[in-house]
């Protein structure tokens, strides 16, 4: 291997998508290099062409896209440089490289799997194509990989279908799939967006290990500057399809030159920020909310004015099995286990927790998207309380217009055959708000508010970048001016600048329209910025709930503490300690004090009041003082 030779050198690569009228220039004559064994981070605003670049390198961009330029791949194990772009589409040569020499983690793991094949089948397929292993070995390798990405029971997961996994679990499966072939270059497109910080750390550690062990180079596409700081050797900053700034991590973090890079750095929310402080996006967008979404229904916010109260909600899933209908069923999954909490009017309740702990399921139960097995949910938005789980008729209609949800997976929650305009105005049409001209106007303003051009209204969801789709979802949820918005990872796919813009918007709206948010996120900094109170969930139960400050500074539960410790900061000096943070929670759990363990019987645990609205799940009858230590 020639020292100093680039593993991949991209030269004047352009990608453009023809549209009905005009076209989108996603990547404009971009050049960059990736060096063997290094992590090159690609950061940039949402929609700046990062994913398009990744796909173009793999040669899997949609056929309608126009790709030009060169991407020379010099495989250390292969026989000389090849121009990936020039290779025949789906020819033998490029197929040998895909999956085998270059692995790819897609940005949207939720939809990247085929729904009708098991996870195991799809992961193992990589080995089937590129190796000569026996089925048994393939299975062993796949399960090993699944274990590495943080699954407790890889053999179970192997037989599960993608729709049975939570968002983060799918993302990890995706990572397993990309890594199982042991590529020399990994294109990781936002690999950790759906993961909580502990698992994120675990995954990053895995990547790092593989990079070191196998000499694997990584093109890490991400917007999380904390991750960049912890992982990257080199950084490329991209804006609207062009490179703004490139250099080593040090150059970028300590010596940023370009105003865009500087802007990005400034937009990151930190723990040190004051509650009322506004985030500083690259461009401030002023939204004219007045008269747009209706005005604040009840300006006075009282204490103990509960908008939504959740009592003893439980949900058990019985997994399907691929191995025929005679196989013995695998154990049921307790996704949500006896959860109770309140959301007060006008507050933002943050919900954090491990990937797969039941946050999405819980939020869908609140929306009646999933039927709860037990429990009650009461909504106090209307004149009288409505029992959410059994409402019918007018009550249900009212609920539907006053509780809205931003889905964790933006792709699949947008009708693929509706234009963005149709999607955003749909809730208005359903609830018969305004005439068609007003709706068009509202859609235009909403698009503007989330930072999308108005021409986006005529496009279909698939033609957007991950972050853009997420913003469409947010715009839709806000369109009706609902009383309660449940946001499931609303900003996970957004770069810091757009994230800042959107978070500001949400905060503004909250203030002006007295919105109430249930804010699910893995990004604790964001939760810290947004939430008034925070609930921490673990394995289907709420383990700790308290006002935001308390959680951030005086958390009691060992899981919460670990979460907070694992937050990556966009600072080269405090990189994550992978050895500590990267250990899986089942292992970490062994070190928990026995106050927090149920020891086989869930009834052993109960919520213990620590004062100031601070509750923690612990042994019945345990003294609060013992816990604080």
């Amino acid at each position: 291997m020639v020292v100093g030779a680039d593993l991949l050198s991209v030269e004047k690569l352009s990608v453009s998508f023809p549209l009905l009228r005009g076209s989108v220039e996603a990547v404009r004559s971009l050049s960059m290099t990736i060096r063997p064994g290094r992590v090159t981070a690609l950061v940039g605003e949402s929609g700046s062409g990062k994913s398009a670049l990744g796909r173009a390198i793999m040669g899997i961009e949609t056929p309608s896209a126009r790709v030009s330029g060169r991407a020379v791949f010099h495989d250390p194990a292969g026989d000389g440089p090849v121009d990936l772009i020039a290779l025949p589409r789906d020819g033998r040569q490029i197929r040998n490289i895909r999956g085998n020499r270059i692995g790819m983690i897609f940005q949207e793991p939720m939809t990247s799997f085929s729904a009708v094949h098991t996870i195991g089948n799809q992961i193992e397929e990589v080995l089937r194509i590129h190796t000569v292993l026996s089925p048994r070995e393939r299975r062993a390798r796949s399960e090993e990989m699944l274990g590495l990405v943080g699954f407790d029971k890889p053999d179970h997961v192997f037989n599960m279908y993608p729709f049975e996994l939570s968002g983060g679990m799918r993302q990890r499966a995706m990572i397993a799939m990309a890594l199982v072939g042991r590529p020399s270059l990994l294109i990781a497109d936002e690999p950790t967006t759906a993961l909580d910080v502990t698992i994120q750390a675990q995954i990053l550690k895995l990547l790092k290990d593989m990079q070191v062990r196998l000499g694997m180079a990584v093109l890490l596409i991400t917007h999380d500057l904390g991750v960049v700081a912890s992982m990257a050797d080199e950084v490329v900053v991209m804006y609207r399809g062009e490179v703004m700034e490139a250099g080593s991590v040090g150059d970028i973090f300590l010596n940023a030159q370009h105003p865009y890079t500087k802007g990005l750095m400034a937009a990151v929310p930190t723990f040190e920020m004051a509650r009322h402080e506004r985030l500083k996006p690259l461009r401030e967008i002023r939204v004219d909310t007045a008269g747009l979404l209706g005005s604040c229904a009840r300006p006075v916010v009282e204490e103990d004015d509960v908008l939504l109260s959740v009592r003893n909600v439980s949900k058990i899933f019985r997994p399907k099995h691929s191995s025929g209908f005679f196989a013995k069923p695998s154990p049921p999954i307790r996704a949500v286990n006896d959860v109770s909490f309140d959301i007060k009017r006008g507050e933002t309740l943050g919900l954090v927790g491990e990937s797969g702990c039941g946050k999405t399921t819980l939020s869908k139960i609140l929306m009646r998207g999933v039927r709860a097995d037990a429990g009650a949910v009461v909504y106090n938005g209307a004149d009288e309380p409505i029992d959410v789980l059994s409402a019918e008729g007018e009550n249900l209609r009212h609920l539907r217009s006053s509780i809205q949800m931003v889905f964790q997976d933006p792709v699949s929650s947008l009708s693929p055959r509706m234009t963005v305009r149709g999607i955003i105005s749909e809730p208005l049409e359903i609830h018969d708000k305004g005439d068609s001209a007003e709706r068009i106007e509202l859609v235009r303003r909403l698009l503007h508010a989330v930072g999308l051009p108005s021409s986006a209204g005529g496009r279909y969801p698939h033609s957007f970048s991950g972050g853009q789709r997420q913003r469409i979802g947010i715009a839709r949820a806000l369109a009706l001016g609902p009383g309660l918005v449940i946001c499931d990872e609303p900003v996970s796919a957004l770069d810091v600048s757009v994230q800042a813009q959107v978070l500001n918007l949400m905060k503004d709206l909250k203030a002006e329209l007295c919105l109430t948010y249930l804010f699910i996120s893995h990004n604790l900094a964001v939760v810290n910025y947004m939430a008034d109170r925070v609930a921490v969930m673990y394995a289907g139960r709420i383990v700790e709930i308290a006002p935001c400050d308390i959680i951030m500074n005086q958390a009691v539960h060992p899981y919460t503490r670990k979460l907070i410790a694992a937050v990556p900061a966009p600072d080269l000096d405090c990189r994550i300690d992978f050895n500590l943070a990267g250990e899986s929670s089942t292992i970490a759990r062994r070190a928990w004090k026995r106050h927090f363990l149920d020891e086989g019987d869930p009834d052993n645990l109960a919520h213990v009041d620590l004062g100031n609205g601070h509750w923690v799940l612990a042994r019945r009858g345990v003294d609060a003082k013992d816990l604080r230590v």
């Binding site: 040998n96 939809t111 990247s112 397929e125």
Partner: protein
């Protein structure tokens, strides 16, 4: 799943009862009965019927009784495996149907398999090579097959097969083999004849299948999971088969319910034109003559196959797509 299947099997009973009533009604609907139409037909030929025998037969088969009683009689017989008596053939229905079923099964299965063997590759080709000359050409050919009524196609093919290749017109085998036990020569003769009905019956079906495969496949080709699979380096053909094709099979699976009965009944009209020794012409004749037990039992048999087919199709559907919950209702 097993519970679901058992439950569905139990559900078949009321369904079949309803079907049997309907079948009976449909056969009873046309005014008159077999005997009247028999007498009329004889009269039309200038002959006269043995009225005595007809009166006897009428009494014997309960035609002097009200319809509901006859219905009960028939159903009771059916349950015991007695499918009734064919007036036209003057023998038990089971004997009449006899051999024809196997020939029908042969023709239909060959047709169906040929249809699939041709339609799927072409459908896949048309979808992946949308608007290529191949796509246009095959579409054109297939649609011509649909647009020309089967009987005209049959006549034209038979006529020219006779003029050019000297193949005798119609039938499934040389007449000399009729009623003979199976032999190599007979099998060969069947093979020589079977291609005409297969082509004629198959054209329309093939073209239809091609268009449907194409349409359904086109919808799947752009999905994200296809891209994922490509990123793994999967061979494009294997990829197509494993992912999008499987996804697009939904329409096909849902139709299994109607495939089973067609295997037994075959393409009636074409069979009539080609005078195939299949069950189709027999059924049509039985219906036209109101040979009611023959027609009724045969229809009932088809109905049972349909019902089984629907169940099979539902189960296959659930296997094809694990997301499908056959029992669950929807959420509001």
């Amino acid at each position: 799943m097993i519970r679901y299947i058992l439950w569905r099997v139990a559900m078949m009973i009321p369904t079949l009862i309803m079907i049997s009533m309907l079948v009976f009604t449909i056969i009873e609907l046309p005014p008159g009965d077999f005997f009247e139409s028999y007498v009329e037909e004889l009269k039309a030929m200038g002959e006269k019927a043995d009225m005595q025998e007809i009166e006897d037969l009428k009494a014997r088969y309960g035609f002097d009784q009200p319809a509901p009683l006859r219905y009960l009689d028939w159903v009771a017989g059916f349950v015991q495996g007695d499918f009734g008596y064919s007036f036209e053939y003057r023998m038990p229905v089971a004997d009449v149907v006899g051999d024809r079923v196997w020939l029908t099964v042969l023709v239909s299965t060959v047709t169906i398999i040929v249809t699939w063997l041709i339609a799927f590759p072409i459908g896949i080709y048309s979808a992946t090579h949308k608007y290529s000359w191949g796509d246009y050409g095959l579409t054109l050919l297939g649609l011509i097959g649909i647009a020309v009524p089967n009987f005209i196609l049959a006549l034209i093919m038979m006529y020219f097969a006779n003029i050019w290749f000297g193949i005798s017109i119609g039938h499934l085998m040389d007449q000399d083999f009729l009623g003979q036990p199976m032999s190599w020569a007979k099998a060969k003769s069947i093979l020589e004849h079977i291609w005409i009905p297969v082509i004629i019956i198959g054209t329309a079906g093939t073209a239809g299948m091609v268009r449907r495969v194409r349409a359904n496949l086109l919808d799947e080709l752009h999905k994200q999971y296809v891209m994922t699979a490509r990123a793994k380096g999967l061979h494009p053909f294997r990829l197509l088969i494993k992912y999008p094709l499987r996804m697009s099979l939904n329409f096909f699976i849902s139709d299994i319910g109607s495939i089973l009965p067609t295997i037994i009944s075959g393409a009636e009209i074409t069979a009539v034109v080609l005078s195939l020794e299949t069950t189709g012409p027999m059924l049509i004749r039985a219906l036209q003559n109101q040979d009611m037990y023959l027609a009724g039992s045969f229809l009932m048999f088809l109905a049972i196959l349909t019902v089984i087919g629907v169940l099979v199709s539902d189960i296959a559907l659930a296997i094809l797509d694990p997301r499908i919950r056959l029992q669950g209702g929807h959420t509001k």
